[in-house]
Amino acid sequence: MDRRDVLKYTAYLTGYAVTAPLTSAILSGCKSEPTAPDFVPAFFTAEEYPAVRQMTELMLPKTDTPGAGELGIPQFVDKVLSTFTKPADQERLRNGLNTWLGSVANEGGSPYADLGAEDQLRILNELDATSKAAAEELEGLGLSKEEKKERTPWWLNLKDLIIGGYFSSEYIGTEVLAYDPVPGAYLGCIPVSETDGKNWSL
């Protein structure tokens, strides 16, 4: 599915999404098949990809706005990693992901992709907390920007791609966030209510 198709698909789905109950979106979103079934990842392996797809949707689920899956973010992340990422960064992310998936399977008795949604979300939040704590520790070490980048936990790099991809997508950028391609003026202080409390997309 190319990006344009994803966007058409999204437009179609949005009307439905508005009526979908929030909780069911969280619980069922990752088990459904929101992406084209014939997608073959270029970077992730067949074992890695389902877990990444589920993590992506758990983090940014469908609510009254589309989830990350509907917007093709897993495919986007796969594309960025396969074609636009340095080999060293690719390897760091892959190694980190596999080590983590391995430990999850050992401790939980089954692969991440096979766990229930609640367990998946709980484990993902644990990973997120430890990753953020590890990144925080890097701050005090007097590391250079490059060294810091190399030692940033893999999950935060993946999270960066997911969040960046989602909020820079056309649908979110033009329909959800405040889109103002030609502002015409700069006003230094306005009430945030003028954007309905939303970020500018650009």
Binding site: R3, L22, A25, I26, L58, M59, L60, P61, T63, T65, F76, V80, T83, F84, T85, K86, P87, L121, L124, N125, D128, K132, A135, E136, S144, K145, L156, K159, D160, I163, G164, G165, Y166, F167, S168, S169, E170, G173, L177, D180, P181, V182, P183, G184, A185, Y186, L187, G188, C189, I190, P191, V192, S193, E194, T195, G197, K198, N199, W200, L202
Partner: protein
């Protein structure tokens, strides 16, 4: 083999301008408007105003945001990519391919170049500040390098002149060491920037914060600015502005030159050397390789303006080798290629501001605030650990969804997603830009081993920042944090992301102006001492770097030199 099928008269002009960037565009405009038939030679492809293919693109118009495929970056942009912002899908076409235009570094030097009509005037930062006598007298007072052969009074009317035409938005502040200019209305500060301004004025007698002075039309005057339009606050300047709202050669000076009917612009014209006439001791023209066909051409004129960028013009001088000048034209002083300077930066501090959660801003202001130099201005501000000084450029904003990666302390899921739709806390950062001293051993020289795609020799760059810059950087970080703290910012962090020259994209000094032909390459009118009908008015001419962004000074020097050149031509002195 030469392909000038025409007679010499047909390839002879009154003036030749080499380069069409910020200073070349000005040379073209001034010489054409003064009636000289002028040939402008641009080494790259032609870009007419409006030919900015990515100007309207949004991030989602690309398959992976602004990212460029890794293989393409590795193959073509190994050095241009060092900025972190140049090699993107929306702007990479303005930057050279390093494999086609290699250079050699003894120490890391990030040389960012754009070979096309308009040069780096398309991608420049647009910050525009005057130098003052604090700067023009600095070398003499410090006993460093050589004295500038001019003073502020020599350049002030030319600053007036170029600012009026270019259109500089800014706020007059009455500082002697950062003179006010002919300003268009200033852009606004936002809430937290105003807080910082207030905090600085309440706590420091020697510092102020002002809005950046930038080459944008905030209130165009059609009589002066023609069809150029008002800034639309899109902040996509680096892609080229379809409104012509910021100053570039393409939008401003080249159309003015063209309108006279006196300009011939020849793209794909790689000037590699000057033709010297042994009988007159003057330059009679330039030698060109056609970048598309590889054909060689010669063009002739009474005067030549070198505006090929600091290192580009220096290359042409060095590659003009005769029996009299075995190390290149202008080398008799021993200073050609030496005293290479750039500004050092990437050091400062950032913080967050608690409050104003109900406030935001509209528009993407292509500008930030400026804190003018406040060190070594007078006895009261004198430092023992370094000479010269620095200014800060910075900006405040509300964080966006990217705070979800590390900062936002929330469980992942629906609430997390919704929170990221809303603007986050206010943050503010300021980055110092410091003066670099002229050091003789910071230099460039010809490299005949490494050739470019035209088979021409290339440059080797041997340059580093030294003790004075390093001592200054410590103060640049500390002083930034001190001001943020005084203004009530929280979570203040200083940073120093390292200092290798080049990334300031302010190469200067390799054919410096001076008072004595024994110690400088150019005289007070930017004439090469050895061949007075050759003028160099780009960054190469700078005798010291000051800490201000230099392009405005190149514009003023160019307009002044062009005026002088035409007067001298009329007097038959050239």
């Amino acid at each position: 083999m030469f392909f000038n099928s025409q007679g010499k008269a047909e390839v002879t002009y009154d003036a030749i301008v080499v380069g069409s960037g910020i200073s070349g565009g000005w040379a073209a405009k001034e010489l054409c408007e003064k009636g000289l038939k002028t040939l402008v030679l641009e080494r790259g492809r032609n870009v007419r105003h409006g030919e900015y293919p990515t100007a309207g693109n949004d991030p989602w118009d690309y398959e992976a945001g602004e990212r460029v495929p890794r293989e393409e970056v590795d193959k073509h942009y190994s050095k241009q990519n060092r900025t972190g912002y140049t090699v993107r899908q929306s702007q990479k076409h303005w930057f050279v391919k390093d494999d086609e235009h290699p250079y050699t570094e003894v120490k890391r030097f990030d040389w960012m170049r754009g070979y096309h009509t308009g040069g780096r005037s398309i991608m420049w930062g647009r910050q525009s500040y005057r130098l003052s006598d604090l700067d023009f007298t600095a070398n003499a007072k410090d006993g460093i390098a050589v004295d500038w052969p001019i003073r502020y009074a020599d350049l002030a009317p030319w600053y007036d002149y170029v600012e009026t035409f270019a259109g500089i938005s800014g706020q007059a502040e009455g500082l002697p060491h950062l003179p006010d200019g002919k300003f268009l209305p200033p852009m606004e500060l936002n809430c937290v920037e105003k807080e910082l301004k207030k905090g600085i004025s309440e706590n420091f007698t020697d510092r102020i914060l002002t809005i950046g002075r930038t080459a944008h039309l905030t209130e165009p005057n059609p009589e002066i600015h023609g069809t150029r339009g008002k800034c639309q606050f899109r902040n996509r300047c680096i892609r080229g502005c379809p409104f012509g709202a910021y100053f570039s050669s393409n939008a401003a000076t080249l159309p003015a030159a063209e309108a006279t009917g006196n300009m011939t612009l020849r793209p794909h014209s790689v000037v590699h050397s000057l033709i010297l006439d042994p009988d007159t001791g003057k330059a009679s023209g330039v030698r060109v390789i056609d970048g598309e066909t590889g054909e060689q051409h010669e063009f002739f004129a009474k005067i030549v303006f070198l505006n090929a960028s600091a290192l580009g013009s220096t290359f042409i001088l060095m590659n003009t080798v005769t029996d009299e000048f075995p190390d290149g034209l202008g080398s008799s002083s021993g200073q050609l290629g030496r005293n290479l300077m750039d500004h050092h930066f990437k050091v400062g501090a950032s913080g967050t501001y608690e409050g104003y959660e109900d406030q935001y801003y509209k528009g993407r202001r292509p500008n930030g605030f400026y804190i003018p130099r406040f060190r070594n201005i007078n006895a009261a501000t004198k430092r023992d650990d370094y000479i010269r000084g620095f200014g800060y450029q910075g900006g405040g904003s509300r964080t966006n969804w990217m705070r979800g990666i590390k900062e936002l302390d929330m469980s992942l899921g629906a609430d997390f997603k919704d929170a990221l739709v809303q603007p986050g806390p206010w943050q503010l950062g300021m980055n110092g830009f410091g003066e670099c001293l002229p050091y003789e051993d910071n230099r460039v020289y010809l490299n005949h081993e490494v050739k470019d795609i035209h088979g021409l020799p290339t440059l080797t760059i041997d340059c580093e920042f030294k003790d004075n810059e390093m001592a200054m950087r410590k103060d640049m970080a500390t002083s930034a944090a001190e001001m943020l703290e005084a203004a009530g910012f929280k979570d203040i962090k200083t940073y120093d992301d390292g200092a290798a020259p080049g990334l300031g994209i302010h190469e200067m000094g390799t054919a410096r102006m001076g008072r004595d032909r024994k110690s400088s390459v150019l005289n007070e009118w930017n004439q090469v001492w050895d061949t007075p009908n050759v003028f160099v008015t780009d960054g190469a001419a700078m005798t010291s770097a000051a800490c201000q962004n230099p392009s405005l000074t190149y514009m003023a020097l160019t307009a002044r030199a062009a005026d002088y050149a035409v007067q001298e031509l009329k007097k038959m002195n050239l």
